[in-house]
Structure formats: C-alpha cells, structure tokens
C-alpha cells in the first residue's frame, strides 16, 4: 500500500533526511510505501496541516505546534524558556508527558509518530550586538506566537507579528531589528544575507514539531505494515529528527562564523543568567496561569 506524507517545505529541507527517509527506511520491505508531497502540493500553507491529516487529505503530515498553538497548550509548554533542563533532550521532554497520557487530548484522531524540539532559539540581528537585556530596549523583534511575544515584551523590546516569508525584506529595510528563532531558520530563509549579528546561548526556548498519522489509516493497515511503523515511531524517530535539526543548526552556525563579516557570539554563563532573570519568570507565569505545573514536572521527569 502507498500512503501520502504531506509537508510544505522544499524537498531539500532538513526534514527529508532527518525524518522522512528514516521512516521510509523503517517500513521498507513491509509492503508499505510512503510517497512524499512536498511544498504544499496537497494544500496551501502550514496552518491546516493537522486538519488535513484528520480529514484524510494526507495520511501523514509534518507541522509546527506553534502555528496553531491554541490546539496544543500543554505541548507548547516544552517550547518555553527554561522548560528544557540542561542535559535533557527535547523529544524526551515531550514524550515523557505524552507517555504519561497528559498530551493525548491535543492529538485527537491521529497517532503521533514523532514529537521533538528544535535547536535552541537565538537572536538573529541586523547591526545590533545583543549581550545584555539592555541592548534590546525599544527594538522591534519578529515573533510568531503569544508566548514569544510575552518574552520579547518582558525583555523590553517590541514584538512584531509578520509572515515568515516577509522576515528577509523586513530585516533588510530595518522594519525589524531582529528575529528570535532557531539557527536553522537562518539557512532556510536566507537570513544570513541581511542579518549580521547572532547571539547564541540565550534562554529563549525552542520550537516544537510533530509528525502525525491519521488514526483510522493506521488502524486499517495490515499487522506487518503497522509493526514496521511502530518499529521507529515514538522516541526513535523523534531522536533522529531532533539530531537532524541540531546538526543543521550547527552547520549553519559554522557557515555564518566562517564568512568573517558576521558577529557570532555565545553568551557566557553570567550573561545568560541576566536574561534568565527576565525570561524564566515569563515561563513561570504562563505555566501557573494555565495550570500546567504537573505537565512541566512530568516532562522534566520530576
């Protein structure tokens, strides 16, 4: 049987090597074949990905929880600054809560095959070196969600909402001074052409991703094909995805460091602490405001 995997990024995106190919390899020989429809071929834009898989436009989709954050209030806790403890992986953080049954209601009608976190978010700035929260006062920073907006506001900057495709132009014209997102986005959206100062190791959280399969389709598969999917679904596929994201981020950081006309700076522990003093209380407020203390504790394995 052939099933459809739909996403909206180009085939060259990290997603292909880190996630789709391992999944395809795992089901090889089982009689199941996974056909990929990249670039939004099965439907426009990233917002409707989950709807598409539930309604059967595609059998498997990739998406970002952050695009429809109202559906994933608990999973989104994993994205917050300070949620991921030192030395822990992002996929363990999410799967701990999922395996405890805390997240099932956020994924109705589907079977999650992979849930993971991106590399840490960084400051991607034009003409401004960020070393302390003071450096951000009054700057305009592009954000994509309400939690990130709250963090940016707490840091004294002005959050600006805009589609991802507009970031490039907006950095170029100075409409925004910077963006907070993962380093891999610097490559994906060609931001290195317009930004020139990057600050790493700031406590700015992560971005979460999912790969989910239509529940009815999964249930209808013959035993052998389902077993093939089960052989990689869960933490194994999530680890492969997360490793891929981190490797891509490192590659991008190496590239922008090598060009010589960029400032790439990693905050020291003390400098980081100054940011944590501001961003961690925002996290606490969101967690306690939503009543997600148990979710966060379970995620962190406490």
């Amino acid at each position: 049987e052939t099933i459809k995997f739909a996403h909206w990024v180009p085939p060259a995106h990290t997603l292909t090597k880190s996630t789709i190919e391992p999944l395809q390899a795992a089901v090889e020989g089982s009689g199941l074949e996974i056909e990929v429809y990249p670039g939004g071929e099965l439907g426009a834009g990233p917002l409707e990905q989950y709807v598409r898989v539930v309604q059967g436009v595609a059998d498997i989709v990739w998406g970002l929880q952050g695009y429809t954050s109202s559906q994933f209030p608990k999973t989104m806790v994993s994205e917050l600054p300070g949620a991921l403890p030192e030395g822990m992986t992002g996929y363990d953080l999410i799967w701990n809560a999922y395996d405890a049954g805390l997240l099932a209601e956020e994924f109705p009608g589907t079977v999650p095959l992979a849930l993971w976190l991106s590399e840490p978010n960084v400051f991607i700035m034009k003409d401004i070196d960020v070393r302390t929260p003071d450096d951000l006062q009054g700057l305009k920073i592009r954000v994509s969600g309400s939690a990130a907006a709250a963090t940016v506001e707490a840091l004294g900057a002005t959050p600006v909402q805009m589609p991802a495709g507009e970031i490039y132009n907006s950095l170029q014209t100075g409409l925004i001074d910077g963006v907070i997102t993962g380093a891999s986005a610097i490559g994906d959206f060609k931001l290195d052409e317009v930004a020139n100062s990057y600050t790493l190791n700031a406590p700015l959280g992560h971005i979460s991703f999912y790969v989910v399969m239509n529940q009815a389709k999964y249930d209808s598969l013959p035993e052998a094909e389902r077993a093939a999917i089960d052989s990689i679904a869960g933490r194994a596929l999530s680890q492969s995805a997360e490793d891929g994201w981190n490797a891509r981020a490192q590659q991008v950081i190496d590239e922008i460091s090598a060009t010589g006309d960029n400032t790439v700076y990693s905050l020291s522990a003390d400098e980081r602490a100054a940011f944590e003093a501001i961003t961690h209380p925002v996290t606490d407020e969101i967690v306690s405001g939503g009543g997600y203390e148990d979710v966060l504790k379970t995620m962190q394995g406490m």
Binding site: V51, V54, Q55, Q71
Partner: protein, 169 residues
C-alpha cells in the same frame, strides 16, 4: 412565490456584502493603527490576526454580490460563433455548477468547523476562534448558492437568448 424568495435572496445578498465591506474597512483601520502604533513603540496586539480574519469575512461576504452583478469571469472567445441554445445551456450549467460548488463549500466547511471546535483552533496571538469565521463562510456560501439556483430557474423559464453571465457592457 419565486418573487418572494428572490426578494429575500436579494436582501441577504446585500446584507452579506455590507458585512464584507465593513470587513475591508476594519482591515484598513487595523493595519494603519498597527503601523502608526509600532512607530511609537506600541503596535496593536493581534493586528495580523484581525486583518486576516477580516479578509475571510470580506472575501466570502462579497461572494453572493459578486455573482449577482456578474462579477465572475468567463472566457468569451467563442461566444459569437455559438448558437443561442448553446449559450443558454452554458449559462444554466454555470449557475448550477456554481450552486453545487458553494453548497459543497458550505457542507464541507460545516464539517471542518466541527473539527475546529474539537481542536480548539484560534488565531495565534489573540485567539479569535476559527469556528465563528467558518460559520460566516457557511452562511455566505448558502446565500451565494441560493442566488445561483434562483438564476438557473429564471434562465430556464425565460425565452432565448438570455445572457446570464454576460457582462453588462
């Protein structure tokens, strides 16, 4: 009977277009307030959320009126070489096809609205619930379909030749 239905349909079409027009003016005001506010360091929270949903309202709100004024574009390359009955057939097919499309849109959006409720879907910054805007699409699509059905009937009853979709030059 048909006359009364037609009167109601016209009224609903105007109402729908009125809501759409308000949607457009909302979009202009919201973006302007956001741009000016941002200049002074205080952008309008959720401006993008509002303008995107206003867009949904204006696009579908105007749909019935668009059809009523013959706003849908058709290819008229061969029109002059067509016999009257063929032009008529094309018009009736168009009106019925349009009605089927908009009834289908209403039907499937109803389904999708149920899913939006289940998934608690809302805009990202200020959480405008998606389901309300889908209800609006359903209402607007039904009004549009009603107008098309009425035109198909009146085309069918009227003598040849009749140009249902031909522009009013």
């Amino acid at each position: 009977m048909l006359g009364i239905v037609q009167k109601w349909a016209d009224g609903l079409t105007r109402l729908s277009a009125l809501i759409g027009t308000i949607g457009l003016l909302t979009e202009v005001v919201v973006i302007l307030v956001d741009v000016v506010g941002r200049f002074f360091g205080h952008p309008l929270t959720g401006a993008q959320d509002i303008s995107q949903m206003a867009m949904v309202v204006l696009v579908f709100g105007a749909m019935a009126m668009c059809d009523k004024v013959g706003g849908h574009i058709s290819v008229d390359l061969f029109e002059n070489s067509m016999p009257g009955w063929m032009v008529r057939t094309g018009d009736v097919i168009s009106a019925l096809l349009g009605a089927v499309i908009f009834l289908g849109l209403a039907w499937t959006t109803w389904d999708s609205a149920g899913l939006s409720k289940m998934l608690n879907l809302a805009t990202n910054i200020i959480g405008l619930p998606k389901v309300y805007f889908q209800y609006f699409i359903i209402a607007a699509a039904l009004i549009t379909a009603l107008g098309m059905i009425l035109r198909a009937i009146s085309l069918f009853l009227s003598p040849l030749p009749h140009h249902g979709y031909k522009e009013k030059a």
